[in-house]
């Protein structure tokens, strides 16, 4: 399946296999992820969606006894190669987890945590980063008077937006979202969705979800994974309106999942 009407690819996955303790989680993944779009990975739970996502920022490295084959190219550089600096990679590929995970520090320190680690020391610059990042996620007006408060005092929805802001603060090119709204109430979830849509101009976004309605709301490009294999992928309209594979049809009709 080609991605001719999807613009240039930011990430290319070629012949990627992934296993944990000799259980094959992902089989022969081949896909191109278009730049500056929201690519949504759908599929039933346990199908390998998150594993694929976490391969792109090498967070799977934390799991014991993994093995993989193939390549994942970001701007033509294979990030699976041994000489990849994972801290540099993760600065370029931000990630928002399933439930909000603020660091045990203030709102302000949560946002400057990444920039400080990557070498920004100047107070004025840091202040600007905080304001910019919080404005981008629509949190600035809500928290500007209590930046020194612990991040845990925010509501869950606000915390998740803070996590998004914290990720934007390290200026990544790619943002990975692992069922990022699943722990939030519908209104907060909507909020995040809107913000992601407005961010795609500047970022390449990958979003894992098992909520079809959400996928339909935000997706430009869709990847359907089932039992560790990509069954179908393509521009959202094509996949949703005219699925080619029987399994995709079945999943979209809610037969399983």
């Amino acid at each position: 399946m080609s991605s001719d009407n999807s613009g240039p690819a930011k990430i290319r996955v070629n012949n990627f296999f992934f296993s944990i303790e000799s259980n094959e989680i992902l089989k022969d993944i081949n896909v191109e992820i278009p730049k500056n779009q929201i690519t949504v990975i759908i599929g039933p739970s346990g199908c390998g969606k998150s594993t694929l996502l976490k391969s792109i920022n090498r967070m799977n490295d934390l799991i014991e006894n993994i093995s993989f084959e193939g390549e994942i190219l970001i701007d033509d550089k294979n990030i699976l190669s041994r000489d990849t600096d994972v801290t540099e990679l993760r600065k370029n590929v931000g990630m928002i987890a399933q439930s909000p995970n603020p660091l045990p520090m203030s709102i302000y320190d949560n946002v400057v945590y990444g920039p400080k680690i990557h070498g920004t020391r100047d107070k004025v610059a840091l202040n600007r980063i905080v304001e910019d990042a919080l404005k981008k996620v629509g949190l600035w007006e809500e928290v500007k008077d209590r930046l020194k408060d612990p991040a845990t005092k925010l509501s869950l929805g606000q915390q998740q937006r803070l996590c998004l802001a914290r990720t934007l603060a390290i200026e990544p090119e790619i943002i990975l979202c692992d069922e990022t709204t699943s722990a939030l109430d519908p209104i907060s979830a909507k909020h995040i969705e809107t913000e992601l849509i407005s961010l795609k101009e500047d970022y390449t976004i990958l979003f894992v979800t098992h909520i079809l309605r959400q996928a339909k709301r935000i997706a430009d490009y869709v990847i359907f994974i089932y039992l560790g294999e990509i069954i179908e992928h393509g521009p959202a309209r094509e996949v949703f309106n005219n699925p080619k594979d029987e399994r995709t049809k079945a999943y979209l009709e809610g037969v399983f999942g």
Partner: protein, 313 residues
């Protein structure tokens, strides 16, 4: 009719069963309250007993003289506990200075860096260390630490020392404290949620940055609690310290000086001096001082801990 009766019977059965369960539940709750109360009473009982037996010496000398006088000549009627109090503080502090960093580094290594296989190999060693009787540690001190200080460390520092010293006591004591300190610190570190480490790593922090800025920060109150527990234990440890510390009733001025901590004073003399009632009472008062020191230390540290927890949360 028959059906109704059987249903009534069944209902009765169910309700009697429920009653039995409720009663068992209540009895269990109340029953376990008893040991809990007894344990709390024990603390007061010990305090009362020590106070009662110290009464004789307290009626003869003002308490400030007893605590702040440095002269210890029991047969001449001089009972100054200051050298013993200082001995206890020196040895305990030195032990904590040695054991706190070592324990925290070990716990961080085991929790954050060690491969699970290696962790499984190292952990039993630490647990075993906690179970070794203190007299064995004392022997280890006499055979290894004391000569080491006498022949190498003291000459290097330009002083002469028999080796039986605060340094030896602190060293042996630290070996005894660190198994608890390591295992509690390790458990505390494991309670830091994985998601928090992941948050830091996904922002491009490396492991050390994550440990320093997130894990230790989050675990900080728990580590302080572990240190307090370690201190409390070190205060009262008797046997191992007594064997290597020299037991000289003088206020120490350097770590190469011998000292005479309170537990050692009591253990060395109790039984021998029973014939002299005032001496007996003096030792009881020594025990009372130790008791009060530990209680005060605990109260202060609990207070500090509450402050820290409030600040972190």
């Amino acid at each position: 009719m028959n059906f109704n009766r059987s249903r009534v019977l069944k209902n009765n059965l169910i309700s009697s069963k429920r009653n039995r369960r409720e009663i068992t539940d209540k009895i269990a709750g109340k029953f376990m309250l008893i040991p809990a109360i007894l344990i709390s009473i024990l603390l007061f009982a010990i305090f009362a007993l020590l106070l009662l037996h110290s009464e004789q010496i307290l009626s003869l000398y003002p308490i400030t003289d007893l605590i702040f006088s440095s002269s210890w000549k029991p047969l001449a009627g001089d009972f100054g506990f200051y050298p013993f109090i200082m001995g206890t503080i020196w040895v305990t502090s030195l032990a904590m200075i040695f054991s706190i960093p070592i324990s925290i580094f070990t716990a961080v290594y085991l929790s954050e860096y060690a491969h699970p296989k290696l962790r499984k190999i190292i952990q039993p060693f630490i647990d075993l260390l906690a179970g070794i009787p203190s007299v064995v540690f004392g022997l280890f001190g006499v055979l290894l630490i004391v000569p080491l200080i006498r022949d190498y460390l003291a000459p290097m520092a330009g002083v002469t020392s028999s080796g039986y010293s605060i340094l030896a006591g602190g060293f042996v004591l630290s070996i005894m404290v660190f198994p608890i300190l390591i295992s509690i610190t390790y458990e505390v570190l494991r309670t830091v949620p994985v998601e928090m480490r992941e948050a830091s790593l996904t922002l491009g922090a490396n492991q050390w940055e994550t440990i320093k800025k997130v894990v230790l920060k989050k675990a900080y109150p728990g580590i302080i609690a572990a240190i307090i527990l370690g201190f409390s234990r070190a205060f009262g440890e008797t046997m191992a310290v007594l064997m290597v510390v020299g037991n000289v009733a003088k206020v120490p001025t350097s770590v190469f000086d011998p000292a005479y901590p309170i537990p050692a004073l009591i253990a060395n003399n109790y039984g021998e001096m029973m014939s002299i009632p005032i001496y007996d009472s003096a030792l009881m008062f020594a025990a009372l001082i130790l008791f009060v020191m530990v209680v005060i230390f605990n109260i202060i540290s609990k207070y500090v801990l509450i402050k820290i927890k409030r600040r972190v949360a």
